[in-house]
């Protein structure tokens, strides 16, 4: 079935929960991504319980700073 992840079609074999989708869709640092499904924020505690269905629109929203991180020397 086809779902839409960050604006791109993604073909998945079966319905997945959000945690599984984060892996399949190769989300970067899935522990910290914010997830929207059809415009609604999904609470992290519900990532196991909420499944994606055909045509769902999913957004992964990432933290972004300024490209400058403290480096331990």
């Amino acid at each position: 079935m086809i779902i839409i992840v960050n604006g791109e079609n993604l073909d998945i074999e079966k319905s997945l929960n959000i945690n599984e989708l984060l892996i399949v869709a190769k989300a970067e640092q899935p522990e910290y991504v914010t997830v929207q499904k059809n415009g609604e924020f999904i609470q992290r505690d519900d990532f196991d319980k909420i499944f994606v269905e055909e045509g769902d629109e999913i957004e992964f929203l990432y933290f972004m700073g300024g490209g400058n991180y403290e480096v331990d020397k």
Binding site: N6, G7, E28, Q29, E31, Y32, T34, Q36, G39, E40, F41, Q43, E59, L61, Y62, F63, M64, G65, G66, G67, N68, Y69, E70, V71, D72, K73
Partner: protein, 270 residues
Amino acid sequence: MKLTNEQLERYSRHIILEQVGGKGQKKILDSKVLIIGTGGLGSPATMYLAAAGVGTIGLVDYDIVDLSNLQRQIIHQTSDLNKPKIESGKETINAINPDVTVKTYNELVNSKNIADIIKDADYDFIIDGTDNFPAKFLINDACVLLKKPFSHAGIIRFQGQTMTYVPDKSPCYRCVFSEMPPKDAVPTCRQAGVLGVMGGVIGTLQATEALKYILGVGELLTGFLLTYDALSMNFRKIKIKRNSKCAICGENPKITELVDYEQPACSFRK
């Protein structure tokens, strides 16, 4: 106050715009914008707002100009090395446009000083040009509590994002990103770094939002997160809703006063 002949000429390409005119240019000249962080995002935002004639620009930064800044922080030049960034920034603003009054704050924003800085000139609009998460959460929380509009932005590698907050009208940064990322989280070191122009693209969008807010024209990025991927050249406007459980702007806010967070640091051997 009437525009002088010199101002009529300097701002002629604004004044000729139907949505700006002499009246709009006067609004810009009367406006006050605070730019927190004089780095990759703050540099272009400051320079365009100075050129546009924003009457008062406040600059907040505590750093000095370092050689590694010059790849993207275009308000500073090679001759500014080791100068405080706010000094270097002020000199560039003055060189661009003597109409602008510059206020400088040589400080790192924290829970104790941010409200005083924002209230110092009763700034109309705030630009988050910082590069760290504690500052981003602090600016959001301060603007929500003080009911001030602001532009959030972040850049990393070839990507950037920005959103605009207007009190009572739009979701805030915390509606999207509820909690500070844990230490050593964002991002892993091998993913860090940023293409210099990302600040130019996104910081200029922040300046655009500030000018639109001042002029009261167009549609702001309120209720949207705009993301930009330079590798695919995709801009996406992602609709975001207010989160009723938001810790600061939700129905039962848990945060009622400002707090300081620790910046996640990555371990990285040079």
